[in-house]
C-alpha cells in the first residue's frame, strides 16, 4: 500500500526554541541526577574497596609467611600425607564443590 492513499494527517508540531531548551534541560537534568547519584555511590563504594586493598597490603607487610607454598605446615602436609598439589587425595580432601543455592537464597 502506498503512502499516498490517505487524505488527512496530524497537524505537524512546531517546537519553539524556548520549548526545545526547556525540554532538553529537563531531559538533561533527568539523566544527570541519577548519573551523579550512581557515580557518588560507586565512588563511596570504591573507597571501601581501596581501604580493604590497603589493609590487605599492610597485612602482607606484617606477615612472615605471605604465600601458601612458603608455609611450612602446608609443605609438611604434602611431604608427609597429601603427596603433591592436585594429587587425588589432596583434591578429594581440599577441593570444594559447587552447590547451586540460588533458590534457597532468593
Amino acid at each position: 500500500m502506498s503512502d499516498q492513499d490517505y487524505k488527512y494527517i496530524e497537524n505537524p508540531l512546531h517546537v519553539t526554541r524556548r520549548e526545545f531548551i526547556t525540554i532538553t534541560g529537563i531531559v538533561v537534568a533527568f539523566l544527570a541526577l541519577p548519573a551523579i547519584w550512581i557515580r557518588s555511590a560507586a565512588l563511596s563504594n570504591n573507597e571501601y574497596i581501596k581501604a580493604r586493598i590497603r589493609n590487605l597490603y599492610q597485612d602482607d607487610v606484617k606477615s612472615k609467611i605471605r604465600v601458601s607454598h612458603a608455609n611450612k605446615s602446608v609443605a609438611r602436609y604434602y611431604s608427609e600425607f597429601g603427596g603433591k598439589p592436585l594429587s587425588h587425595l589432596s583434591e578429594e580432601l581440599l577441593h570444594t564443590k559447587y552447590i547451586n543455592r540460588t533458590k534457597i537464597l532468593s
Binding site: M1, D3, D5, Y6, K7, Y8, I9, E10, N11, P12, L13, V15, E19, I23, F30, P34, I38, A41, A42, S44, N45, N46, N100, T102, K103, S106
Partner: protein, 217 residues
C-alpha cells in the same frame, strides 16, 4: 478500504519504533518472568539471562534512537499523556464505556477524547516512567553491579522488578484492547492509517483540533 477518508495515524517512524519495541519487550517480559520464578536448570537460566540482556540492549537503542529521530513525536506524546482535564475523571468514572460495551452490550455516554483516551494516557505515562526506570536500572544492574553498594543494587533490583511487573500486567490489557480495536491494530502493524469516521467517533477532540487535510500537489 475507502482510501479517500483515511487519516495517517502512525507514520513509518512510529511503526518501526513499535515493531522493535514488540520484538524486544516480549522476550524481555518472558525471560524476566523466567528469571523471577527460576523454574529451569542453571544452563536454561543462563540462556534466559543472555536473551534478557540482548533484548534489553535492543530496547535501549530503540528508545534512544526514537527520542532523537522522532523528537517532535516524543514531545507530542509527553504533552498528551501528561495533560489532565475534567474529562479524564469522567472517562475513568465509566471506564471509557468498555465494561458496559463488553459485558452488558450497552452503550453509555463517554466524554470526548483526544488522540489518546484517559486509559491510554495512564498507560503511556506508566510506559514512559516505567520504561525509563527499567532501562536505567537494567543497565546499572547488568554493567556495574560490583561498583555499586549492595543497598543501591538491591534498591535498583526492587525498582526494576516492580516496574517490570507493572508494565507486563499493563501489556496484557494493552494487547487485548489493541486487538479489540482492530482498525487501530492494523494501522500500527500494517499501513498506519485509520478510517476518518471511526477516528471522529473514538477521538473527536483529536480529529477536530489536530487533523488537517493533506495538500495535494
Amino acid at each position: 478500504m475507502h482510501s479517500e477518508n483515511m487519516i495517517l495515524k502512525h507514520p513509518l517512524s512510529v511503526r518501526i519504533f513499535h515493531y522493535l519495541l514488540v520484538i524486544s519487550f516480549l522476550p524481555l517480559a518472558a525471560t524476566g518472568l523466567i528469571l523471577f520464578f527460576k523454574p529451569f536448570s542453571e544452563n536454561a537460566m543462563n540462556l534466559a539471562m543472555r536473551i534478557h540482556v540482548a533484548a534489553g540492549i535492543l530496547l535501549t537503542f530503540d528508545a534512544a534512537a526514537f527520542f532523537i529521530i522522532g523528537y517532535k513525536r516524543v514531545v507530542l506524546f509527553l504533552r498528551r499523556v501528561f495533560s489532565i482535564s475534567g474529562n479524564d475523571f469522567k472517562w475513568f468514572a465509566v471506564l471509557g464505556g468498555y465494561p458496559q460495551k463488553l459485558l452488558l452490550h450497552k452503550k453509555v455516554p463517554v466524554p470526548p477524547m483526544g488522540k489518546y483516551n484517559s486509559g491510554q494516557k495512564l498507560f503511556g505515562a506508566c510506559v514512559f516512567i516505567g520504561g525509563v526506570a527499567l532501562i536505567f536500572t537494567g543497565i546499572a544492574l547488568w554493567a556495574f553491579p560490583h561498583n555499586l553498594p549492595h543497598g543501591t543494587v538491591a534498591l535498583m533490583g526492587h525498582v526494576h522488578t516492580i516496574a517490570a511487573w507493572a508494565l507486563t500486567l499493563f501489556l496484557c490489557v494493552h494487547v487485548f484492547l489493541g486487538i479489540y480495536m482492530f482498525d487501530d491494530f492494523k494501522a500500527m502493524f500494517l499501513h498506519g492509517k485509520i478510517p476518518y469516521d471511526e477516528a471522529k467517533e473514538m477521538a473527536p477532540l483529536w480529529v477536530g483540533n489536530e487533523i488537517i487535510a493533506v495538500n495535494k500537489k
